[in-house]
């Protein structure tokens, strides 16, 4: 049922060429089985929202995509490169995969501009002035070019998160991962971050977002994944997912998050 719904998408993209493939992935923290039989792929240009109760393994799943977490069984292939213990492969994948964290994780000892140019200069080997010009473009896109010479500690949470998005974009990634990007923000700042993410989605960026923002999922996602206890329980196009959830666990979850 879920598969059929996915197949009926209006924009199939380059369907034979997934940018992220997870095949039978399992992960344990000690004895705790945190990811179970994850079979999941993302096409280029596709926008995925992953939701689920806390502790369901959704953050762990996207952190496996750039190897912040190691999986113990199965295969993960990103942009044709398989993630193994080979550190060169891991670094190649990380260049192409941008990540935005719940707690921003900006570098507090560097200015906003330096935060944005660190990767392009030291990882991509761009000349400084070129990296700075690109960084200013992205800072304008997230609407904070005037903060370029400030330090992260001088910015509000929403501004910091927008800088974090700009920092990831400066690496010119093929995929953007968002790990609960609005969960640490005050309500009035959530909108400014979501607006930036929606604009980014409109540019055709491939995005995988772990978020509880169901409004965002409805408007932006091509596909919504629901995870519970380490398993992908249900995935579907948003209209179907929200209007007609199939699994009992999804129904319970949706009734709880949509109740307020």
């Amino acid at each position: 049922m879920a598969e059929a719904a996915v197949d009926s998408r209006t924009d199939p993209g380059s369907r034979d060429d997934p940018i992220i493939q997870m095949i039978g992935v399992h992960k344990w923290y000690g004895q705790f089985h945190v990811l179970k039989q994850i079979d999941f792929s993302v096409d280029r240009g596709e926008r995925i929202v992953i939701c689920g109760p806390s502790g369901s393994g959704k953050s762990t799943l996207i952190r496996c995509i750039n190897r912040l977490e190691e999986h113990q069984r199965g295969r993960i292939i990103v942009d044709g490169i398989e993630l193994t213990n080979d550190i060169r492969n891991i670094e190649l994948v990380r260049r192409e995969v941008g990540m935005v964290f719940q707690h921003f994780n900006l570098f507090p000892h560097l200015t906003v501009l330096e935060n944005c140019t660190l990767g392009p200069i030291w990882v991509r080997g761009q000349p400084r002035n070129e990296a700075e010009a690109t960084a200013m473009q992205y800072l304008e896109r997230v609407r904070i070019p005037e903060q370029a010479s400030k330090y992260p500690g001088q910015l509000s949470g929403g501004q910091q998160q927008r800088v974090a998005i700009a920092r990831a974009l400066c690496m010119n990634p093929k995929v953007m991962l968002f790990d609960e990007p609005t969960s640490a923000l005050d309500p009035e700042m959530i909108k400014e971050v979501l607006d930036v993410m929606i604009e980014l989605a409109e540019t055709g960026m491939t995005m995988v977002c772990v978020t509880h923002e169901m409004g965002f999922a409805r408007t932006v996602a091509d596909r919504v994944l629901f995870m519970d206890r380490g398993q992908i329980v249900e995935q579907n196009v948003p209209e179907e997912f929200f209007a007609n959830p199939q699994s009992e666990r999804t129904k319970v979850f949706l009734s709880q998050v949509l109740a307020h």
Partner: protein, 370 residues
């Protein structure tokens, strides 16, 4: 209308604060005579100062013998005999370095101090600074050793006094600092062999007194060396100082590393930085800023610990002073000699302390929410 309603009838003018709360009198009341016990403490402290300060001033300055005076003059005077410094200062400052060549260690020290001065300015923290240090140290050694351009050769067993102390301390700091960063990183490494080596090194070296390290370096090392291979005594002491300080410093820096949140490592990894770039650009700059006070603490300790090299017969500032005041004519005035070098040690250590405060202010600016 409620009887709480109120309208001010006129604008109140500014008035002077009460006289007793401002100016000198206000300061006295607020700080020295703020209640019974504070007043008692103030009076007691004043009595102690009156009892001890005037005699000290008399001894240090008023009754002291200044300038070029014979020992007999000192015997008759009631105060300090600063004449001993006048007489012996070259011996104290330069040890047994040939008397006519003293301009060379003076110039050498000027080079070292200039290098340190340059390195204190953050704007100069560039790659060329490493080259400047290499050049400066080469110039220092060339001057001190000589043996070219008509400079007589001075073997380093004759080096002594302040130049030796500065050399041991400055090279100690410059080498121990990067070594300690590697040790601290190694101790947190995921590679068991590297971690074990670093833990053993730190715990072993930190667990023994510097004196025993100096002894071992001086007397035991040559036993293990093949005959004919002779490592210079000064170099051995220098290595012992570096090993000792780097073990201490490694733990200080590890303390800073522990304080860096996991998210910083993840963010650095997520943009694709490799291990060394991540440490150099993201982690260490933050970790070191957090532990500037204990780092400078260790540097100050290192500076003063150089005086222990006297026990392996290196004539540092302290031993040079001891030798200088062992002259039978001046033997009675050793206290003045030690006061003199205490002032010298203090000046360098106080500079380090002030510099660390300056650095903390520099790094603090703008990096926290104002």
């Amino acid at each position: 209308m409620s009887d709480r309603a109120y309208v001010a009838e006129r604008i109140l003018p500014d008035e002077e604060p009460p006289a007793a709360s401002i100016g000198f009198v206000g300061w006295l009341r607020a700080n020295l005579f703020d209640g019974f016990w504070n007043s008692m403490l103030t009076v007691a402290a004043a009595l102690i100062l009156i009892r001890f300060v005037p005699p000290l001033v008399d001894w240090l300055f008023l009754d002291a013998v200044w300038g070029d005076a014979p020992p007999d003059a000192c015997r008759e005077a009631a105060g300090a005999c600063w004449a001993v410094i006048w007489e012996k200062h070259r011996l104290i400052l330069f040890g047994r370095y040939p008397y006519q060549e003293h301009w060379r260690p003076v110039l050498g020290m000027a080079i070292l101090i200039t290098l340190v001065g340059f390195s204190c300015n953050r704007a100069n923290w560039r790659a060329w600074l490493v080259g400047a240090w290499a050049l400066g140290l080469a110039a220092f050694f060339a001057l001190m050793w000589g043996g070219f351009f008509g400079l007589t050769f001075v073997p380093n067993v004759l080096w002594g006094g302040l130049p030796l102390t500065l050399l041991l301390a400055i090279i100690g700091i410059v080498v121990a600092f990067p070594v300690s960063m590697l040790l601290a990183l190694g101790r947190r490494s995921h590679m068991p062999v590297i971690r074990a080596i670093c833990v053993c090194y730190i715990e072993l070296i930190r667990g023994v007194p510097l004196i025993s390290l100096l002894f071992m370096a001086s007397f035991m090392l040559p036993l293990f060396m093949p005959t004919g291979v002779n490592i210079d005594a000064m170099l051995r002491a220098q290595i012992a100082i570096i090993m000792f300080s780097s073990a201490y410093l490694a733990e200080v820096i590890r303390g800073g590393l522990q304080a860096i949140p996991r998210g910083q490592f993840e963010a650095a990894e997520a943009i694709g930085l490799g291990y060394w770039k991540m440490q150099r650009l993201v982690i260490l700059p933050q970790a070191i800023r957090l532990v500037i006070p204990p780092i400078v603490n260790t540097f100050i300790g290192l500076f003063k610990d150089t005086s222990l090299v006297a026990i392996v017969s290196l004539t540092d500032l302290l031993l040079a002073t001891r030798q200088a005041v062992s002259d039978p004519l001046w033997r009675a005035y050793f206290v003045e000699g030690y006061i003199f070098i205490a002032i010298i040690y203090f000046c360098f250590c106080y500079f380090m302390s002030k510099y660390s405060q300056y650095l903390e202010r520099q790094f603090y600016t703008g990096q926290t929410r104002n």
